[in-house]
Symmetry: C2
Subunit: 211 residues, 2 copies
């Protein structure tokens, strides 16, 4: 398994979204599950539906995953890892706090728009996870929150931002970005880039001193 992973290029997870899921059949099943969960929700999706979308028999699912919940966990875990990676890269990057916040919101929103099927599963199907799996994911979300809070704190310290309630504003910024997954429609008028630019501008106004 790790030998197969090494044959892939190291950075192709942006180009090929589920490149880290290694047996071909397991990836096909996982992609099918993402689509189905995003469309109908976890509980309304049957294992027969997932297998059918992947062009396989229902039993094939259980060769690669122990349960339907394990499939959801794999999706949620990989998605949260990606989300955290995006925000931490923005938080630890160069530039002023304003520039980093702009980049963070822009890329986080773009991810929620471009990959809104995945994001929908990642953000709205937490309750369906088992207790242990949910706890693991919640820890990742805590770190996501911390990355944004760090940018805001930096900006306040540098005098760039005027933010009376940093934790509350962190919540609002993440909230705004995450909700994109709920309403974004690929057939709609706005491209992911446009939404990212719009939202980054709005967030910067929220934190900038009013004069």
């Amino acid at each position: 398994m790790s030998a197969a992973e090494e044959t892939a290029e190291p950075d192709d997870d942006t180009a090929k979204p589920w490149g880290e899921v290694t047996p071909e059949a397991a990836r096909k099943l996982l992609v099918a599950a993402v689509e189905a969960f995003a469309e109908r929700g976890y509980h309304a999706t049957t294992t027969r539906d997932i297998a059918g979308r992947a062009g396989m028999s229902p039993a094939a699912l259980y060769i690669h995953y122990k349960t339907k919940e394990e499939l959801l966990h794999r999706i949620s875990r990989i998605g949260h890892d990606k989300a955290l990676e995006i925000l931490q890269a923005a938080a630890e990057g160069p530039g002023t706090a304003a520039e980093r916040l702009d980049g963070a919101v822009r890329s986080f929103v773009r991810w929620h728009a471009e990959r809104h099927t995945t994001a929908r599963v990642v953000q709205y199907e937490l309750d369906a996870l088992s207790d242990e799996h949910r706890a693991e994911i919640i820890e990742l979300r805590r770190r996501t929150d911390a990355a944004v809070r760090r940018i805001l704190n930096d900006g306040v310290k540098a005098g760039e931002f005027d933010v009376p309630d940093v934790p509350g504003t962190t919540l609002a910024v993440l909230s705004l970005c995450i909700d994109v997954a709920r309403w974004f429609n690929a057939q709609g008028r706005r491209t992911p880039d446009e939404v990212g630019a719009l939202y980054a501008g709005l967030v910067l106004r929220m934190v900038t001193a009013q004069q």
Copy 2:
């Protein structure tokens, strides 16, 4: 049925949330369904669970509602009516655009926080509705959107606001408010009033000219 409704005071739907659902047993079932749908989601909730929470047998549900989906529709319809009422009252009220926007966000957020179980069902279980019922609800949401957009347009016309993209900003404002239903926790540190005040302040910064 209308005779029974007339015996209630005209304005008690704020004090007694589901006062408009008239046979006592039907209301108990609906309240139980709201709790169950909010906790587990529509598809993961069984009719036995709803009836059990209401202290009745599973069959009792079908005396008052034709199907489980009809229950969801009743909840969604009443909830959307209430949400629209809140925003239209704010939009058509007196005061400057800034004052009306402040009031709109404050009361809309407060509703999503205080009644976050109901709001969660209303905002996140649209997909489970039948096609006709979903179309009816989407029309209500269009009007909700229009109420906020009207405030923003008024503010721009009056020179109070600097909003380059009114439809996009309308989306963002509603998005911010709606997402409260996802994360709000009654055991958390913030009261609905505090969140409403915080969010109203952030939204005003989003639309106010920067100078």
